[in-house]
């Protein structure tokens, strides 16, 4: 799991993405992702955590080629993911990289039956034994017996069942990477655990790699091997899932950790005024967290800190400069 002896299956290398916003004749840019580098190893579950607008979903969408990066490159396996696919390359890429969406109520076509929803990717990929594979996939996502589900429309299913159909659609082409964008946040608490366990089971059975986006630290800790913390388009810290809760290093990670709900907390520490997320059209020149950081130094204002290594972790903060 995430051992450095393997070569990564996906590498983001200095990825930058900005979106144009028009204001009259002036064009400004929202800097959604800035200089992000991240390696993901085969069979690993990595969670990208952060608040809304931090760029975590943009990063996923860059890999799935819904967006194209402005700078940097994304490497899948040993090849660079092209900015524009040829049809054949695209089919090949889509077969290996699949997505699970947040809202199972809007990610399934309401006028198609489960059978058609699951069969479509197989048809496009021109694969054989479609029916057999559909049954198999439904069993893999624990919708059993499959014949009870195959002729149902999405509205006949509960939220949990729909999300399982979404997962079945993602695994039906036997992908090696699944991008999961907040897969449990729209679901009720009592069925979340089931979906998370299903994701873990699929990883164990097929050695699937997950890029999982969430804002829920507890879920991230439960499901993932490693966690990457994003803030204002930058990746601030990379660590193991336990470290983020037990020993957060970056001041922003510490803030997230303190703010996360925890019924077992005995004494709650006051956050006080914590400031607001910076405007991404004119992001701070230095560290993006500097305006809110209580440890801010002079250089934080003017320079973006590089990554410093603390044990095996990477932290983008000048506080850890002396460790190097």
């Amino acid at each position: 799991m995430g051992s450095l002896s393997f070569s990564p299956i996906i590498s983001f290398e200095n990825i930058t993405k900005k979106f144009p916003v028009r204001k009259g004749f002036k064009v400004q840019y929202v800097h959604a992702v800035r200089d992000v580098s991240l390696d993901v190893f085969p069979g690993e579950i990595i969670s990208i955590v952060g608040e809304s607008g931090c760029g975590k979903t943009t990063l996923l969408r860059l890999l799935s080629r819904i967006y194209v990066e402005d700078e940097g490159k994304i490497v899948y396996g040993s090849e660079i993911v092209p900015k524009k696919f040829k049809r054949k390359e695209e089919l090949e890429f889509r077969r290996k990289v699949q997505m699970i969406f947040q809202d199972p109520f809007s990610s399934l076509n309401p006028v198609k039956k489960v059978h058609q929803i699951l069969g479509r990717p197989l048809e496009l990929q021109k694969l054989n034994n479609i029916d057999e594979r559909i049954y198999e996939a439904l069993e893999e996502v624990e919708l059993t017996p499959p014949k009870n589900f195959i002729n149902k429309y999405p509205h006949e299913l509960s939220g949990g069942e729909r999300q399982r159909v979404v997962i079945a659609r993602a695994i039906i082409t036997k992908p090696s990477v699944i991008l999961a964008d907040e897969p449990t946040s729209m679901l009720d608490v009592s069925i979340r655990a089931g979906i998370m366990k299903l994701m873990l089971k699929i990883r164990d059975d097929f050695n699937t790699t997950y890029l999982h986006v969430t804002h829920d630290l507890a879920a991230a800790r439960y499901i993932s091997d490693r966690v990457a913390v994003m803030y204002a388009g930058m990746l601030l810290e990379e660590c193991t899932a336990d470290d983020i809760v037990l020993e957060p290093l970056h001041p922003y990670t510490q803030l997230l950790r303190k703010a996360a709900p925890d019924p077992d907390r005995l004494v709650s520490e006051k956050l006080g005024y914590t400031g607001e997320v910076p405007n991404l059209i004119t992001p701070p020149k230095g560290c993006p967290f500097e305006p809110r950081c209580k440890y801010a130094m002079k250089k934080c204002k003017n320079f973006v800190p590089p990554y410093f290594r603390v044990n095996k972790r990477k932290v983008k903060c000048f506080l850890y400069e002396k460790n190097n």
């Binding site: 949990g160 089931g194 507890a218 809760v245 997230l256 925890d262 019924p263 914590t274």
Partner: protein, 315 residues
């Protein structure tokens, strides 16, 4: 006792079908209390809140029951008396409160509207009050002249909370007030509410589906399932020692931040169809300890002082 709800039933009528979304709910609330109501989507928590405040709109309808607020039955009050009590005696903050602000009015004008409508204050006095309540929720007074679109989501929600506190009501009902917000903003708003409650005592009913948050912050907690209250008690006691199988299932189905346990169960099955009559305990289909007796409806009764549960075989 500030609020007493007795055998409240409410629901929706459409196309000849009657859906009982809230069934025979009874509970009471003291002065300076903080009751959290937790439950999954469709369990009737919003219907319950809206019924208590008599805000349930058609096709919603209150079928039966009484809601005593300071000794008077809200459900029997005439419209005018009720209207005068709103904002002053009790107020509501909703999930979409931040989007309920009128986009073409400045913040101060919206709050001013509430003040002038419900009191005899002059505009100048009202401005002072606005300044004070905004400060209370952590908004600088310069922001008074802003329009809603100039504020962030968190600030808009703070304005909505400030509006609910203008007349220092004795009951503030909050329906998922922080659900649309990020964790850091959520935490700092909850802190602020806590601080305000320390100085201006008021009672709060707080509804959310974020169960881990509710277990952390509330004083007492009520768990709702399929329109009924299944358990009620001091939050810490309920968390450490749940009596109803559903409560215990809920607690086991979300990952805890600091606990090492790597096993979460979830609850198999799904919520019953509320348009069909439910015989006996509403949770029995999903319950692992169900027995013969569960086919008769369990009563919601006090098993230990302050601790209520609706189960024949409490854990």
């Amino acid at each position: 006792m500030l609020l007493e709800v007795r055998n409240l039933s409410a629901g929706y009528k459409s196309q000849g079908k009657e859906i009982e979304a809230v069934k025979n709910v009874s509970f009471s609330l003291d002065e300076n209390d903080f009751l959290g109501i937790a439950g999954e989507s469709g369990c009737g928590k919003s219907t319950l809140l809206f019924s208590i405040l008599r805000l349930l709109k058609r096709p919603g309808e209150i079928f039966d029951g009484e809601v005593f607020f300071k000794g008077e039955d809200i459900l029997k009050m005439d419209e005018e008396t009720l209207r005068k009590k709103r904002w002053k005696e009790f107020s509501l903050v909703t999930q979409s409160a931040m989007n309920a602000l009128n986009p073409v009015y400045k913040i101060k004008d919206q709050i001013m509207d509430v003040i002038l409508e419900h009191s005899d204050y002059t505009k100048i006095e009202a401005l002072e009050i606005i300044e004070r309540v905004l400060q209370m929720v952590g908004i600088q007074k310069e922001r008074m002249d802003s329009y809603p679109h100039q504020l962030s989501g968190g600030m808009k929600q703070r304005v909505a909370i400030a509006m609910a506190l203008v007349f220092s009501p004795s009951l503030v009902v909050m329906d998922e007030p922080t659900t649309a917000l990020d964790v850091v903003v959520q935490r700092s708003i909850m802190e602020q509410i806590d601080e305000i409650r320390n100085t201006n005592k008021f009672s709060m009913i707080f509804v959310t589906h974020d169960i881990s948050l509710l277990f952390e912050i509330s004083k007492r907690i009520a768990i709702m399932y399929a329109g009924e209250l299944v358990e009620l008690g001091q939050t810490k006691q309920v968390y450490l020692n749940p009596l109803h199988p559903y409560t215990s299932g809920l607690i086991n189905s979300f990952p805890k931040l600091t606990k090492e346990t790597k096993e979460y169960k979830g609850i198999p099955g799904k919520i019953p169809d509320l348009s069909k009559p439910i015989i006996g305990c509403s949770f029995k289909e999903r319950c692992q300890n169900r027995k013969e007796l569960c086919n008769t409806r369990p009563e919601f009764k006090e098993v230990i002082p302050g601790r209520w549960v609706a189960c024949h075989f409490p854990l």
